[in-house]
């Protein structure tokens, strides 16, 4: 290979990368930097100007009981959704392993297809289900179990239900993947050694699927703590979480600096969960040492 052609090979990858690199530089990195810098300003309401103000938004966030309450609700709802998703999702993943390839394929389709339907539409479905004229109230009224429609909407329960629905597939998939990696002989070996099916599951299958549970839980936590549409629609205006609080600050109050600061706190929570997820996946892969 001549020196000239070697140099051309050396330059080619960078030419291929240039559009993507420029795109991500100007539309991801720079915007995030601008947002971080905006969060250190204060909006002067009388002049509409931004005045440098250090980390005051972060400090006031940590002192303000209202903001801390919103943060607490966000973390609580995300934690409840995460636990429910793992509990509801585990048996589904387990059944998929036991199912015939045909059944497995159709189950996978039912679980995955809704992911491609807009979250706005799926959340709207819950509005129709839980509303005063909705399916659940009609059913209960029709059965004479209640006299007036129940108030199901605009509650934390409604938010958790909506989040669980949107995020359940993200819990099922990693558990399914980790269960599939377990050698079925291990379960059989445990039973040959005298363990009952339940005991074998408890001592062999469940511990080996823990990395999948961990990975699924982290991604569900990350997505539910930052979800916007579901809490905005099913929680109503009163039940604020971090994401709806940010939206209010920026779109309704036009307070960019405060909105940026709250957004960055939310980003810190969500991104640490995703990094934990990636870590769990990595460990899960190297944790399978039995083959």
């Amino acid at each position: 290979m001549s020196a000239a052609s070697r140099r051309r090979v050396g330059l080619l990858p960078w030419l291929l990368l240039a559009p993507g690199l420029l795109l991500f530089l100007f539309f991801v990195i720079v915007p995030l930097a601008i947002m971080a810098s905006t969060s250190t300003y204060q909006l002067d309401r009388t002049t509409g100007q931004l005045v440098p103000d250090g980390l005051s938004h972060y400090a006031s966030f940590l002192r303000d009981p209202f903001y801390l309450g919103v943060l607490g609700r966000t973390l609580r709802l995300a934690a409840i959704t995460t636990i429910l998703a793992a509990l509801v999702g585990y048996p589904v993943a387990y059944a998929m392993i036991k199912a015939s390839p045909r059944q497995q394929a159709s189950l996978l389709l039912i679980i995955l297809a809704p992911l491609l339907v807009s979250v706005v539409v799926r959340t709207f479905g819950w509005l129709v289900l839980l509303g005063p004229n909705g399916a659940i109230n009609s059913l209960l009224l029709g059965l004479d179990l209640i006299r007036e429609p129940l108030r199901l909407l605009y509650s934390e329960t409604a938010i958790v239900l909506g989040l669980l629905h949107v995020l359940l597939p993200f819990a099922i998939l990693p558990i399914f993947a980790s269960l599939r990696n377990i050698d079925p002989d291990l379960h059989r070996a445990a039973q040959n050694l005298g363990a009952g099916p339940a005991y074998a599951f408890w001592r062999v299958t469940l511990p080996l699927s823990l990395p999948g549970i961990a990975a699924g839980s982290m991604i569900v936590f990350a997505l539910s703590s930052s979800a916007f549409v579901t809490p905005a629609v099913l929680g109503g205006a009163r039940l604020k979480v971090m994401s709806t609080l940010v939206y209010q600050q920026i779109m309704q109050l036009a307070d960019f600096p405060r909105g940026a600061a709250i957004a960055l706190i939310l980003m810190g929570i969500s991104v640490s969960a995703v990094l934990a997820y990636l870590w769990a996946l990595e460990r899960g892969r190297s944790g399978i040492v039995f083959d």
Binding site: L23, P114, W126, V128, L129, G131, N133, A135, V246, F256
Partner: protein, 262 residues
């Protein structure tokens, strides 16, 4: 045996839970009444016909369409180029670059929308179709890089090297060797990017101007106030469009593989 029956019943229950909101929207869109209810009162297509009388929904359908086409088309080009570089070359900073390209999957899209809005405001760039498409482009490019990258790793770079040794230019090699081999990845990447863009709401909420409101943002705006059956009909339309995408993707590579479980 009884255990199996319990598990089967449970799975049916979960499937019903997963499908219920979608079925309910489709079902109640067929109502003949003036209000949204499930089960619907009477059966008619009147609310679908009503969509045609509402210019704002038609405008939004058009906006969503050109944003999805623009973003997925551009993502296909940018993403394929990047995937080629990442899959076929070893160079310093490769891992870091890969991480950078995957970062929109890691960031909450709401945050990306806010950051872009503040950036556009800071730079004095007004909202336009282009700013909206650029936002969607950032969000969809990682998926194209992943899917095309998976296609590229499905065969060895030796095939391309052989073509080049036989005198083909890099462009000829790409056109006649690489392109036919990665076609499924390209199709899946384009279709997935288009669906992601069509369904996207978090970024669009911040980047839509009054003249560039996408369909999901329009529906979201309605949900905050009231919901008449018109919204169920528009939502059903969105479900049907997604269904076309689902069938396409299932045909091209299979949903399981798309989400990395097969």
């Amino acid at each position: 045996m009884r255990q199996g029956a319990i598990l089967r019943g449970y799975i049916l229950l979960v499937c019903a839970f997963i499908l219920a909101p979608i079925v309910v929207v489709l079902g109640s869109s067929l109502t003949a009444a003036e209000y949204t209810s499930f089960p619907p009162h009477g059966i008619s297509l009147r609310w679908y016909i009503e969509i045609l009388r509402h210019e704002e929904f038609l405008d939004s359908l058009w906006t969503s369409t050109y944003v999805a086409v623009g973003a997925s088309g551009a993502a296909l080009i940018v993403g394929t180029m990047a995937a080629m570089a990442l899959a076929r070359y070893r160079f310093p900073g490769r891992t870091a670059l890969n991480g950078l390209f995957m970062s929109p999957l890691l960031l909450p899209s709401l945050i990306l929308g806010i950051a872009l809005l503040q950036f556009y405001t800071w730079a004095g760039i007004g909202k336009s179709p282009a700013t909206l498409i650029l936002g969607h482009l950032v969000l969809t490019t990682p998926y194209v890089i992943r899917l095309v990258g998976a296609s590229l790793s499905g065969f060895k770079g030796e095939l391309e090297l052989a073509a080049q040794n036989l005198g083909a230019t890099p462009l000829q090699t790409f056109r006649w060797v690489t392109l036919p081999l990665i076609r499924p990845g390209l199709l899946a990447g384009a279709a997935f990017a288009a669906i992601i863009s069509f369904d996207e709401v978090n970024i669009s909420l911040f980047l839509s101007s009054p003249t560039t409101v996408t369909l999901p943002v329009r529906i979201f705006g309605y949900l905050e106030q009231t919901f008449d059956p018109l919204v169920t009909a528009v939502s059903s339309l969105l479900i049907l469009i997604s269904a076309v995408g689902i069938v396409l993707l299932e045909r091209i590579i299979g949903l399981g593989r798309l989400f990395g479980v097969e």
